[in-house]
Symmetry: C2
Subunit: 385 residues, 2 copies
């Protein structure tokens, strides 16, 4: 894979009650175009990631909306893979470029989650799992992740305090990110004393419901050279899946789809995990960051939680994980999240991140997960020639 | 474009209260594999089209479900473009093949619409239009199409009786299709006396809510030759879009997106409308078939309704339109519909259609529309070398 990222933009994530789905999408799309120095007519195909708008905003067919915003009539398609929707849309954009169908594509993601009844949002999130065996019987998404967390803590002797350090670290990073939903540091004590959502997970173990949008513009290497925007490129793009239902897995303390997507990504890029110095992983819950880092080969099985607690993954320590604040602190507007990760890597690799800049950022990895490890996509970006 | 269709299958469309979303998808996927003579492990990527399952069945992340059914872990992605979802998934499958990412892909579509409260289905369908200016103010999908119909009848002197002939013709064809939702002929009188849905459209002008699934297997020409399944191929695949809201159009008696997708498809295939002898068009309402046939260049503006009424588009007359029965009689399980059209063309081009076989079928066109002409995709298939 050799695809240039020539423009990138994220709206701030947060509770934007005064902005519609269309407003947020427009904001991300237009600022991404500005970042690339392109006009709407330069975009040849569009992919839009979104999970919940049908359920929460009475709006599907977002492909047409995304083109409508730009006033163009090109092919425009919505992509969905639950919380991995954004990353899957990036893959669709890459396929369009690699097929020769287009030279320049826009990949956008948007989600509007905060000004509707929370029960409806919870129901909507639950649709990412297997309805027949999980949603139907009343399981919520955090409840299923609590099972995973219990199993992991038991198997690998992870303490509740160590687990809390994931959120503490991500809030520390998020405090440095002007676009983050939550820009305040929290302590282990704060995590432990916050309301229990699904034991042992508390409110501060769970990523929030956010509004937001993100958009990137991808092109062939030739086009990027022509407009002198060839500094950052995608060198791996992979995707794998696993059973929809958690009960159909042999092991719930690791996710096979992440392992598959990770291994294939390293092979595509011709690198190993040791070559990577910044990572954005899908920390929908604190446990998911720990498991992802192990599945991706950054730490031995059962050790990532201990490493995070020791600060190994803090900004500019051995491996910076979620410099953006991650889904926990930057926020998790679902359709935007996977694309927002690529925006963060792009800005890090261009050395544009100010207080949260990873020194000497060279190769970054983004990991996005939809459902309970059911759909996973991995991207690797670099600023090396 | 040069992509082989090596397997194709449709479940019967209808009201399948005893079958779940997963059951229907499994049925289509497994019979398509059987048709291609392949095993699940031969499939390298999957695309699944669906519009309403999030809203009606509490289930998104259908990509993971589709792979789960086959017991494989390959990339699997849901594609949505309202009623054009199926056709857009076909395009995604073609891009994956053309990019070199895969040699064999499965493209499936499924919808489960009949055993939920009809009000919820109506709301869900409305999400294909612009919620802010249309759904929010209480417009329903048939109400918007009634405006289009009135404008068309007024502009081109189409009578109510002529309009009814579209449904009469499609039911005549559907009666010959063992997989059709409705297998009975109807008369102009039946159409006129059926309940008014949105004046002037009556119940028998509107396609039904159906359950069903369809699945096709696509491959590179080389792979198709290797397994000796290179008899039918896709030679054009195009997509275009228009404003989401009807009120933003300059003209509501024609659809710009269909015109664009059609013209590009003829160019890609190197043919003209005159070279085509069978067409499956998106007859969600009787008016949409008339407008599509004009937008695609088969008839002069304002004449298609008169031609249909005269029988020009009946089975084995000048141009066979909707030999399957179309969305009206074959049924309209949204996610499946666009793929079901390709299944029909495939079976026609293989001379497998029995009583509804188009004599000497050589080149077929499929037209699918999402929202009110907002998203359109066109495919052209042939059995010529």
């Amino acid at each position: 894979v050799n695809i240039a990222v020539i423009g990138a933009s994220c709206t701030p994530y947060g509770e934007w009650w005064d902005k519609s789905l269309r407003d947020l999408l427009a904001q991300a799309q237009l600022t991404a175009l500005e970042d690339a120095g392109l006009m709407p007519k330069d975009i040849q195909e569009i992919f839009v990631a979104n999970m919940c708008a049908g359920q929460l905003s009475g709006q599907v067919n977002l492909g047409a909306m995304a083109a409508d915003i730009l006033g163009i009539h090109v092919p425009s398609t919505r992509i969905e893979g639950a919380c991995a929707s954004g990353a899957l849309a990036v893959r669709a954009g890459i396929a369009a470029l690699e097929s020769g169908r287009a030279e320049v594509v826009m990949v956008s993601g948007v989600e509007k989650m905060t000004d509707v009844d929370h029960t409806r949002v919870t129901e909507s999130l639950m649709s990412a799992t297997d309805y027949e065996t999980e949603g139907f019987v009343g399981a919520t998404f955090p409840a299923l992740f609590a099972l995973v967390t219990r199993a992991y803590m038991h198997t690998y002797n992870l303490t509740r305090e160590q687990l809390a350090q994931v959120s503490v670290k991500n809030h520390k990073h998020g405090a440095l990110n002007p676009s983050a939903h939550f820009r305040k540091e929290i302590s282990v004590h704060d995590v432990l004393k916050s309301s229990i959502v699904a034991d042992p997970l508390t409110l501060l173990d769970c990523s929030p419901m956010s509004d937001g949008a993100a958009s990137i513009i991808l092109s062939t290497p030739d086009f990027a050279k022509k407009i002198n925007k060839h500094d950052v490129k995608i060198i791996a793009s992979t995707q794998a899946c696993d059973t929809l239902a958690l009960s159909h897995r042999k092991n719930i303390t690791q996710f096979y789809a992440t392992q598959q997507a990770g291994q294939q990504a390293y092979k595509q890029a011709g690198i190993t995990p040791r070559d990577i110095n910044l990572v954005e992983v899908h920390d929908a819950f604190s446990t998911s960051e720990i498991i992802a880092l192990e599945d991706l080969g950054f730490f031995d099985r059962g050790t990532a939680g201990h490493e995070i607690a020791q600060g190994t993954t803090n900004l500019n320590n051995r491996l910076t994980v979620n410099a953006s604040g991650g889904l926990k602190a930057k926020g998790h507007p679902i359709g935007a999240s996977g694309i927002g990760q690529i925006v963060e890597l792009m800005q890090q690799l261009r050395n544009q991140c100010g207080a949260r800049q990873v020194h000497n950022a060279k190769i970054g990895l983004a990991h996005s997960m939809g459902g309970l490890g059911a759909t996973v996509a991995v991207h690797i970006l670099t600023n090396k020639e």
